[in-house]
């Protein structure tokens, strides 16, 4: 009635687009909840902020949009009712109402899952992806019914070797084309393509290439949401759910890519890239990916005293006493060779040791020789922590000398005794062994056995970075924490601990019991590291900085819970 009495209004101008509710942002509704997002935000990402989990296969934030899996279809008020739009493709607009849980959307998701599984072999029992497969996840969440297809499936190549790193099972492929897009857009090597048409089409290497050859081909294995692309190195070695994961850093070069080290017992099984916008985005190069192998093999298990025929293995306490006894008369004339492969904590402690105990004012820098750089991640400098080494040496008042200076001094007979961190030097192992053969005393703290460990009078077994907490500073000066995955193998101890115990034995107690204490005690002297909050580095998948010093497993349980609950599994000993 009141409406009838309203005076006739003047005809309004046609309504334009509504003014933005939050200027500079786009405000819209997902499942009844208001979302405020920057213009250009993908709807899938925006919906996640209010807890709406839109399923997808082909979408990847760092690749172009393909919208071909049709899993992310949602209802939108911007199109005719009944029409579904792909959330990955349609940018959200001001005031639009998105619904992701309606009956229509659910039915469609169920059908798309059934479509994807029509020609999928469902051979999860022998599939490496099982346990981390999006088909499995979404089947349980969105489908959960037997397939209604009768008759056979399309048969394709089951183990097509694409290159040195990747093998393809074409039957398992769901044609999301993430790998094709990655190779052309990120790796700049458009070697993969889709061949054929319809339900018979396959992913393969373009005939003019013949073989997948790229230093980034391993990433397509991570990108593959199903078990179609598999890493030849990791294939058939472990079930994903038996692995625990520790946030770590790749030590292959000075880029310092964030990684996840997947381990079981005291073995690392693989590296996976960990999201890091500033350093490696979502990628990892194949060389870095395989660099985990030195963590498992050719390790120094126990201290070795004496060289040549006199060499014998000895317990840690005896090795400390022996090394201290040998070093005592030579203090003041011992040269110190530092390694940019060691962590900041190792270097902090050992530089304090070099300055206060060995009484030297010069550190020589060893580490790995320069190699090749490439356009994306790989750096020519193959040492993960050169920047940190330079910072700490400067702060400790030590002069940094290149490796050449040490070899010259050795050849001239100026250096009689040497204390070295790390077995890696930027020259051939044979040449280095011949040089160090002449030394009166050579104390070496090394992670791996090599020809360089032979001439040492004392070899102290050092722990790798996955066996201890610590930090690396990569080429751009970004310092990153890495976390302990499992206890050190055998009698190995971190460099800093060997150095601290030697210092104590030689009458200069550093009074540190953990790498955290090393950092807390010594890093404030280094201006570049002073502001680094060691405790507050966010663990992986956790936006709020936590204090947990433990690495988190993929399932949220502490790493190694299976192994450490069963102490004698795989020869593991808990310290």
């Amino acid at each position: 009635m009141s409406e009838d009495k309203k005076p006739a209004e003047a005809p309004r101008p046609p309504p334009g687009p509504p003014p933005p509710k939050n200027p500079g942002f786009i405000t819209f509704t997902v499942d009844g909840k208001e979302v405020v997002a920057k213009p250009g935000t993908n709807l899938i990402d925006a919906a996640k902020t209010v807890g709406a989990d839109i399923p997808y296969y082909c979408y990847h934030p760092r690749l172009t949009i393909a919208a071909n899996c049709r899993m992310c279809l949602v209802e939108s008020s911007a199109v005719q009712p009944g029409k579904l739009v792909p959330a990955c493709q349609i940018p959200p607009t001001e005031g639009v109402v998105i619904k992701t849980t309606t009956e229509r959307v659910r039915t469609q998701q169920k059908m798309v899952m059934e479509f994807l599984l029509l020609n999928h072999p469902v051979d999860c029992a022998i599939c490496d992806q099982a346990g981390e497969c999006k088909l499995q996840d979404y089947y349980m969440r969105h489908d959960f019914q037997p397939s209604r297809l009768e008759g056979g499936k399309v048969l394709r190549h089951k183990r097509k070797v694409l290159g040195d790193t990747v093998v393809l099972d074409q039957e398992r492929c769901i044609m999301c084309t993430r790998c094709v897009r990655f190779m052309s857009e990120v790796a700049k090597a458009p070697q993969l393509g889709v061949f054929g048409r319809g339900s018979h089409e396959v992913i393969d290497v373009a005939p003019e290439y013949g073989k997948l050859e790229s230093n980034y081909s391993g990433n397509i294995v991570d990108l593959c949401p199903v078990g179609a692309l598999l890493n030849r190195d990791f294939r058939f070695r472990a079930r994903a759910w038996f692995l625990s994961a520790a946030p770590s850093v790749c030590t292959g070069c000075s880029r310092g890519c964030s990684t996840v080290a997947d381990f079981m017992g005291q073995d690392v099984y693989r590296y996976r890239p960990r999201e890091n916008e500033a350093i490696n985005k979502s990628w990892l190069c194949d060389q870095g990916r395989l660099s985990y192998k030195s963590l498992n093999t050719h390790r120094v298990p126990q201290a070795v005293l004496g060289r040549g025929a006199d060499a014998k293995e000895a317990p840690a306490a005896e090795a400390i006493k022996y090394a201290a006894m040998k070093l005592q008369p030579l203090l003041g004339s011992v040269a110190f060779l530092a390694s940019p492969v060691a962590s900041n904590e190792d270097l902090l402690a050992s530089f304090a040791f070099a300055r206060d105990v060995l009484k030297t004012s010069t550190v020589y820098v060893g580490g790995r020789a320069d190699g090749q750089a490439d356009f994306l991640l790989m750096q020519a400098d193959k040492n993960p922590n050169r920047r940190g080494l330079e910072w700490i040496a400067r702060a400790f008042g030590l002069t940094v000398q290149p490796f050449d200076a040490l070899t010259k001094a050795l050849d001239a007979g100026l250096v009689k005794a040497l204390f070295a961190l790390g077995h890696e030097v930027p020259e051939a192992d044979d040449a280095w062994a011949a040089r160090t053969e002449k030394l009166e005393l050579f104390v070496l703290s090394a992670t791996n056995e090599s020809k360089a460990t032979g001439p040492a009078h004392v070899v102290l077994p050092a722990a790798t970075h996955v066996e201890d907490e610590g930090t690396f500073t990569q080429a751009d000066g970004i310092t990153q924490r890495f976390r302990r995955a499992f206890p050190p193998r055998g009698e190995a101890r971190p460099h800093w601990r060997w150095v601290a115990e030697l210092a104590k034995e030689l009458g200069n107690d550093l009074a540190v019991a953990s790498s955290r204490e090393v950092f807390k005690k010594l890093a404030p002297a280094v201006p570049e590291l002073a502001s680094f909050e060691w405790d507050k580095q966010a663990p992986v998948n956790q936006t709020r900085p936590g204090i947990s010093t433990m690495a988190a497993a993929a399932d949220g349980r502490p790493p190694g819970w299976r192994e450490q609950g069963v102490p004698n599994l795989r020869g593991l000993s808990i310290p």
Binding site: M111, F115, L116, I174, G198, S199
Partner: protein, 445 residues
């Protein structure tokens, strides 16, 4: 009975030497283009808008409106392209091939007008791979026109460069989809692009591109010869001009005919000028009105005009004018299975529902036709089809391009309208038409 007052496209088809430049010019060829090129480009587009010319490729989108979506040169200084879709591969449609064979210069004259209006200096004609003879005729026509100075540096003597090229496809149905056609023109795999952006903004080689059907462009010379009003009045409702339709199936005189927009489907089938009816004693059981992707109509729904908007209430579409008539001796399941197999074969494989759904539908239909059908199969079939493209209404497809709809709409319309036939197959465990599932042949006039 509506009478076709004047032929538009087919007017000169029967004249001698019409497919040569000399013969075409003898019948007043390229005069309309000369006339049109007097106008400024914007006026040409306005004239096309006024003529109510609509795209003859299937969607019936107003051509002038499509042209006006091309951004101005100030907004986008990239070159413009015109792409002619001569990839006529919709089952049941054979109209563009006759234009290419019988009157190629009509198309070329239209191209001259369209390119001048759009400011496009390059035109690509993408013709179907199987068009061996038509594309040979067209190649000859292009060469003649270029040698005569019609195309080249000076279009019809004007200071406007226009080069026309014919590109032949490799026989993929999907390349008739406009963005897949552009991909194929660029030398890539014929996979449809995501829209938006539409080709008018980002098209061939990233430049603004208009994609038009052969018949659409071939109508342009007549519009400028006799005026937009004349063309508009020829038509009916919001569709100007006449259209070419191809009648096939159980009619006495199958063929390609030019009809007025207000001709009904029944007239097309029974009129002496067109299909001349069915053999003695037969009735129309089903009729696909616009190429095999259009939802099927029953024999009771034939009183529908062949105009683009008239099919909307019936939840079908005028499509590309491929009218397929099935009489009461034909097996509906077999017909649908054949249609479904085509789309399963031609699915490009880019997105999931179409890639996996089309072969699945074809398998279920085969199962029913071969007498192995079960009670739940029809519901599964409808469920699969609805997951590819729900129907009705048209246009709810869940796939990137309309090929998903094209395969799913026939399935849903056949099963909904002829459910009894499908259930009979399941009940009898065999095809009731026995060994003649395609119907009875041999007693046509």
């Amino acid at each position: 009975m509506s009478v076709l007052s004047e032929k538009v496209i087919t007017r000169d088809w029967e004249r001698p030497n019409q497919n040569t430049l000399a013969g075409y010019k003898a019948n007043g060829g390229y005069k309309a283009a000369m006339k049109a090129l007097e106008l400024p480009p914007a006026a040409i587009t306005d004239e096309v808008k006024k003529s109510q010319l609509r795209g003859r490729g299937g969607a019936g989108f107003p051509t002038g409106l499509k042209w006006s979506f091309v951004p101005s040169l100030e907004k986008n200084p990239k070159p413009r392209y015109l792409a002619i879709n001569a990839d006529e591969s919709e089952p049941g449609t054979a109209k563009d091939r006759f234009i290419l064979e019988k009157d190629p210069h009509l198309l070329l004259e239209g191209i001259a007008i369209a390119c001048y209006a759009l400011g496009a200096h390059t035109c690509y004609i993408y013709s179907r791979g199987e068009f061996k003879y038509p594309s040979a005729v067209l190649d000859k026509a292009i060469a003649e026109a270029t040698a005569d100075g019609i195309f080249g540096k000076k279009l019809l003597g004007r200071d406007f460069e226009l080069n026309v090229y014919q590109v032949r496809g490799a026989g993929a149905y999907i390349c008739g989809e406009e963005t897949a056609l552009l991909e194929s023109l660029e030398g890539k795999k014929g996979w449809p692009r995501l829209k938006p952006p539409f080709p008018a903004v980002v098209g061939l080689f990233g430049c603004p591109t208009v994609v038009n059907n052969v018949e659409t462009i071939a109508s342009l010379p007549r519009i400028f010869e006799k005026g937009a009003e004349w063309f508009s009045k020829l038509g009916f409702g919001k569709s100007g001009g006449t259209r070419l339709v191809t009648v096939s199936g159980a009619v006495n005189r199958p063929g390609t005919y030019e009809v007025a927009m207000d001709t009904s489907l029944r007239e097309l089938i029974y009129d002496a000028a067109y299909g001349q009816g069915l053999p003695e004693g037969r009735t129309v059981k089903a009729c696909i009105p616009g190429g095999s992707s259009a939802p099927v109509l029953t024999g009771d729904e034939l009183d529908v005009k062949l105009e683009f908007d008239a099919f909307k209430p019936l939840q079908s579409m005028a499509g590309s004018g491929g009218v397929m008539v099935m009489d009461d001796t034909a097996c509906m399941v077999r017909c649908l299975w054949r249609v479904s197999r085509f789309y399963a074969e031609e699915s490009c494989g880019q997105c999931t529902p179409c890639r996996e759904g089309q072969p699945w539908m074809a398998r279920i239909l085969r199962k029913i036709e071969e007498g192995r059908g079960e009670r739940g199969d029809l519901d599964t079939l409808l469920g699969v089809a609805a997951a590819v493209a729900p129907w009705p209404p048209i246009g709810l497809g869940t796939t990137i391009c309309a090929l998903g709809d094209a395969g799913a709409l026939p399935v849903q319309s056949f099963v909904t309208k002829f459910r009894e036939d499908f259930e009979q197959h399941i009940r009898l465990r065999r095809c009731p038409k026995g060994d003649k599932p395609w119907g009875v042949f041999g007693d046509f006039k």
